[in-house]
């Protein structure tokens, strides 16, 4: 689908014409930013380089050259536990859909980055905190399987508070389901790359996020298994500010690199280039054998 048509079906941009919504205060340095400028700067503060959490549509628009063919968009959330606390689960889903312009916490599809065709999944923290329920698991599994079947690299941008409570154990099982698909992808010649964005925790960090061949993270992203609050309650002391940041994980050897957002796309292009060189080398060897 042409990018323009796809976006029209996606996030509702009309809201942004509202004057008050045109200005955003940077939570890090306090600078008041004009929203169109902020968007043009990849949602990075022009003064202090604070990385705002990106909407999935904007992320895809900033990465993909040409068209994006979305898959599994018909896979939509159900309510298997008939969950209801202050609000019912379907009410929570509807509220987040209205707020975020997303119908679930991930967008998946095929596109091209710098001349490389790829399978691309982008999670969005603005929908249910990016939590993984059945839809996130199913869409990502279809993406990973499609990458394996079509012989495409697979790149996933993560942003998640972990497993979605309102789907109970069915949510937890998405860790097993995506893992099984990742194992098959990694048995192929194609690379699996994750880019961890703020925040990436719980059932997502403890499954496909940390199963990739190459694990990158955006600057200052919060990444960990247990949430900060849980750890502080357990040990009854305050954690240092840098704990669980991308930079902290880089020092500890958990991830391959930390990137400023403008460097993400060129870095991905180079990595896809190395991986393709390996695939081509293998093909040449098979031909001469």
């Amino acid at each position: 689908m042409p990018m323009a048509d796809w976006l029209r079906g996606g996030r509702n941009r009309e809201k942004m014409r509202d004057d008050a919504a045109q200005w955003v205060k940077c939570p890090s340095c306090g600078e008041v930013l004009y929203r169109p400028d902020l968007s043009a700067n990849l949602d990075v503060c022009s003064r202090c380089s604070h990385h705002f959490r990106m909407h999935a549509h904007d992320r895809i628009l900033s990465l993909v050259d040409g068209d994006f063919e979305e898959i599994a968009r018909g896979v939509l959330p159900a309510d298997p536990l008939a969950w209801s606390d202050k609000k019912s689960y379907p009410q929570k889903l509807a509220a987040d859909a209205a707020k975020s312009g997303m119908d679930e916490a991930v967008l998946c599809g095929f596109g091209r980055i710098g001349g490389y065709d790829l399978a691309l999944g982008v999670m969005d923290f603005h929908f249910r905190g990016g939590t993984m329920g059945s839809v996130v698991g199913e869409r990502l599994t279809r993406l990973i399987e499609a990458a394996t079947d079509r012989g495409l690299p697979c790149v996933i941008f993560t942003a998640s508070g972990g497993a979605r409570m309102e789907e109970g154990m069915l949510a937890l099982m998405q860790m097993a389901k995506t893992t099984a698909a990742v194992v098959r992808l990694k048995a192929s010649a194609q690379p699996f790359v994750t880019v961890l964005t703020d925040p990436t925790t719980g059932g997502v960090s403890a499954s496909f996020a940390f199963q990739a061949d190459i694990i990158l993270a955006e600057r200052n992203a919060m990444i960990g298994f247990a949430g900060r609050r849980v750890i502080e309650q357990t040990i009854r002391q305050r954690l240092p500010d840098r704990f669980q940041t991308a930079e902290f994980l880089l020092e500890r050897g958990h991830i391959d690199g930390v990137l400023d957002r403008p460097n993400v796309k060129p870095t991905l292009e180079r990595i896809l280039g190395y991986a393709r060189a390996g695939v081509q080398r293998r093909q040449r060897a098979e031909l001469s054998a």
């Binding site: 896979v75 939509l76 298997p80 154990m169 389901k177 893992t179 403890a206 298994f225 247990a226 704990f243």
Partner: protein, 325 residues
Amino acid sequence: MNPLLEREKGLLELERRIDDLRSANEGQRIDMSAEIASLESKYRQLLAEVFGSLSPWEKVHMARHPRRPTTLDYIAGLDSFDELHGDRMFRDDPAIVGGFARLGGHSIVAIGQQRGRDMKENLARNFGMSTPEGYRKGERLALLAERFNLPLVTFVDTKGADPGILSEEHAQSEAIAASLEVFAALKVPTLAVVIGEGGSGGALALAIADRVLMLEHSVYSVASPEGCAAILWGDASKADEAAAHLKLTASDLRGFGIVDEIIPEPLGGAHRDAAGTVTRVLDRIGAILDLLEAYSLADLLAARYDKYRRLGSWRDAVAGSDGAT
């Protein structure tokens, strides 16, 4: 304090009186069997009252009962066990135990999460919450099972993975993620038994298997009820409410296709007949290992993939039908 302990007190008191009467009755001229029978009937009535139908939150307490058989109790029931230690990198995590074993004619690798049976052991074993080193030991032993072509049996009993500073520094996420990869594609038959509490990703790390069994009063949950209540409502004290929502009982999970078989427990819970429960569980494991021998490795792996591939529940707007499960 586990509220079930309080409720069991009356039962234990009655048990003692019946035993006293029985021993007093022996060799006596006055027959007290009528009194004994009456007490026994009262006992059965009380047992049914206390344990006849447990709420999900009560089942959580049953799963955490201090006298409930733990991994080491099942391991003690195996025909032989040779423990293997350590992750070959940093340390030996006592919250996970594993090694070679024999059971009903099968040589196997057995791995389990071990919580403490008293405060001292709980401190030593970190309440059964594994650090990354524990998962790396488990992963190593699982790969050892594959290397020696032996079936793998795991016992699941943990509140969850350790949420501490060192565990984060040692890459808890990576350790669990890597364990999931190994279990998802392990080239031997695999069987997991949830014997107590299955808490979140820390439990799943040892629980992807060809067959997943669960004791009747065990629980298995996306998060501990306390954790879930804290996440959703910022109030861990609403854990009982969360437990009711989470669908974490064995029958719930059997219904979702997440658990393949439920092993019944005696009325009042596994600990009321610990030896019998251990025997029953090990017998079932042996029987299922016999059964799994009939499948080729290719069939096992394909079936394992399909089983997890199907799990989930969604609407399919294009097809206009509901998703699997």
